[in-house]
Each structure stands twice: as structure tokens, then as C-alpha cells.
Symmetry: C2
Subunit: 195 residues, 2 copies
């Protein structure tokens, strides 16, 4: 069976948003790209804001899975690396989100609180991993709670904004660049962790 219209609208919207930004794309454009009439689009979604929210929710669902940590053992540095890499992969499918995120969150309180919750899970992931290391004596330098928080802050900053930084300087977004971001994070952590 063919894909539901409701989903095709989202696919079309995501594609257009990624290429032109949410501001330049109207509901008429989305309807046309989805191969339906403007009126039909409004049967499925109240307005553009709701379409944006639905796309965010798609990404949230993907991130929520990516932010899972192993529960049966202590996380390792490799876990951090794949954690970040998957995060980058998901983000790169939704480029319009990181390009306009702050502005979009400001305009939609529902979206903002949803994002802040998802974000907290990712941040706490970093904190948990670093804290786990600190407790297991795998450190070259002992670190206090404040330093753990700071290291998690930097890790989060890299995972949230590294792709933005590349985008601004017009660099392509690919596996190589993902690795560069991962390497930056490892450089920050390296002085504290045993190899």
C-alpha cells in the first residue's frame, strides 16, 4: 500500500524546508510538492506550525533511541563516539532544524519544552558516562563534580553545534566531518582519561 498522505506531506515539507528554509516555504508549496491540493493539506494539518511540530517529533523519536545507554555494563569511550556519530547522522537528515532551531523554539512554546526534555536526556548521557569513569578510577587526573559538569557541557556543545559550524563555513557534511567532531570531543576528554 502506498504511503499515507499525512506522511507524504511531511516528507515533502522536510525536503523543502531543508532546501529553502521554513520561511520561504508556504503550505501551497508543500501541497504542490506532495501532489495534493492546498485544501487537502489543511484536512490533514491545521497549519504550517503543526507540520513543523510533526517533523520535530519524527526527529525526537529518532534521537530518543540514539540517546539510549547500555544498562548491562559501564559505558565506554567508544559508546560516546557512536553516541555522537548517530546524533550527527540524525541531525543531518533534518538540517533545517539546526539551521533555524533557536528561532523556531522561540516561536512555539510546545516545541521548546519538548526539545528541552529530549536535550536533557542527551546531556545527562554525557554526564553519566563521564561520572561512571570518574568513579571507576580510570582517570589520569581526579575530577570533581563541577569539572564533570563542565566536560559534559563541552561535549554537548560539540554534539549540538558542530554541524552548524560546518554549515556556516560551507563545508560538506559527511562521515569525515562527523569524525572530526568526534575527534574534537576526544581531544577534550583525553587529558583526563586513561588510554
Amino acid at each position: 500500500m502506498a504511503m499515507k498522505t499525512k506522511d507524504r506531506i511531511l516528507d515533502a515539507a522536510l525536503h523543502l524546508f531543508n532546501m529553502q528554509g521554513t520561511g520561504a516555504v508556504s503550505t501551497n508549496h508543500i501541497a504542490e510538492a506532495a501532489g495534493i491540493s492546498p485544501g487537502n493539506l489543511y484536512y490533514h494539518y491545521r497549519n504550517k506550525e503543526e507540520i513543523i511540530r510533526a517533523i520535530f517529533e519524527r526527529q525526537f523519536a529518532a534521537l530518543d533511541v540514539a540517546f539510549e545507554l547500555p544498562t548491562d555494563r559501564l559505558p565506554t569511550l567508544e559508546d560516546i563516539q557512536s553516541f555522537v556519530r548517530v546524533n550527527f547522522e540524525i541531525m543531518s537528515a533534518y538540517t533545517f532544524i539546526y539551521r533555524e532551531m533557536i528561532a523556531l523554539l522561540r516561536q512555539d512554546a510546545v516545541l521548546r519544552s519538548r526539545y528541552i526534555a529530549i536535550r536533557a536526556r542527551g546531556y545527562e548521557g554525557f554526564q553519566a558516562i563521564i561520572a561512571a569513569y570518574a568513579q571507576s578510577g580510570l582517570l589520569t587526573i581526579p575530577i570533581d563534580d563541577h569539572t564533570i559538569t563542565q566536560l559534559a557541557d563541552i561535549c554537548w556543545l560539540i554534539s549540538e553545534f558542530w554541524l552548524s559550524s560546518l554549515d556556516i563555513s560551507e563545508q560538506p557534511i559527511n562521515d569525515n566531518q562527523f569524525q572530526r567532531g568526534v575527534d574534537l570531543m576526544m581531544l577534550v576528554l583525553k587529558p583526563y582519561f586513561k588510554p
Copy 2:
């Protein structure tokens, strides 16, 4: 003598953009806030894009000064810190810029190339400072060129996106928060530099 109309338009636009975002603010709104007619606004600026460019140029001029390094002596860690703090101060007067930057730069190639040039100066500032340390033997660990570049990458990431990160989590933007950003940067550099 009272301020020129051309400047009052920019002041009004900056204020509205910071509060509501460029998308929600029309030229009519700007004219009203500036206390002039819509027609008069178009006498001074071709369109909204040109107003946005003019505001960017204001910020560029301020950043360009902030990115000056001492030429009569080697830069110090204190130089880095004030460098970043001033950067934060300037950015915080133009919040709409960092909120929408990536999207705005994508829509305006003129703006993008201007920004990339200014940005390069800031980045090279970090690189120069770190390299100066590396050459003067003030390091606890020797570092190669690649590491210098990576450290500069991280420093730049913090200085460019730390305020964005605060904004997303709805934290106030003030001196204390500026200092937190500076502290993060120092944490990254600390393992390599002698106290």
C-alpha cells in the same frame, strides 16, 4: 542634532528583530516603530534584506575591533579571556543574529561571504594565540599543528555557540554566563598550558 533617520530605522529594526525574529517583523512594523511612514523607510533602504545587512555590518564593525590582538607583545591567556568576553557582549546585543544566523546566511550570499571573512579573523586569533604559546615553551605537553587547529576549533565553537546554547535552555544572558563560557574554554586549554 537628533539621530539620522537612517540610523533610527536600524535601531528600531534591531529591537524588533531581537524580540520577534526577522520573519515576524515587516517593513511596516519597522517604520511604525521608527516613527516614520512606510514610504519613507523605502527611501532609505531598498528592502528588508538591506536593513538586515546594515545591522550585520554594525556588528561586524564591532567584532572587527574586538578581534584585534596586541602587536607589541605575545598574547596571554588573559587576552583570550577578554577576547571572548567582549565577543559575548557584542553578540548579546544582536541576539536575532545568532538565533537565525545560519538561515540568514543561506539566503544572502553577500552576507555570508562577509561573515565568513570576519569569522576567519576571530578563528585565526585563537590559532595565533595558541601557536604563540606553543613556540614560547609555555606548554606542559608539546603539541603539534594539528592539535593547535583542533584546540582553536573548540575555542571558536564555544565563542560562537555558547550563547545559543544558553538561549535554548532559556537561561538569562549576563556576565555570570559569559564567565561560564570563558571557564569552559580555559578548561579545554588548561591541560596544555602552564598556570
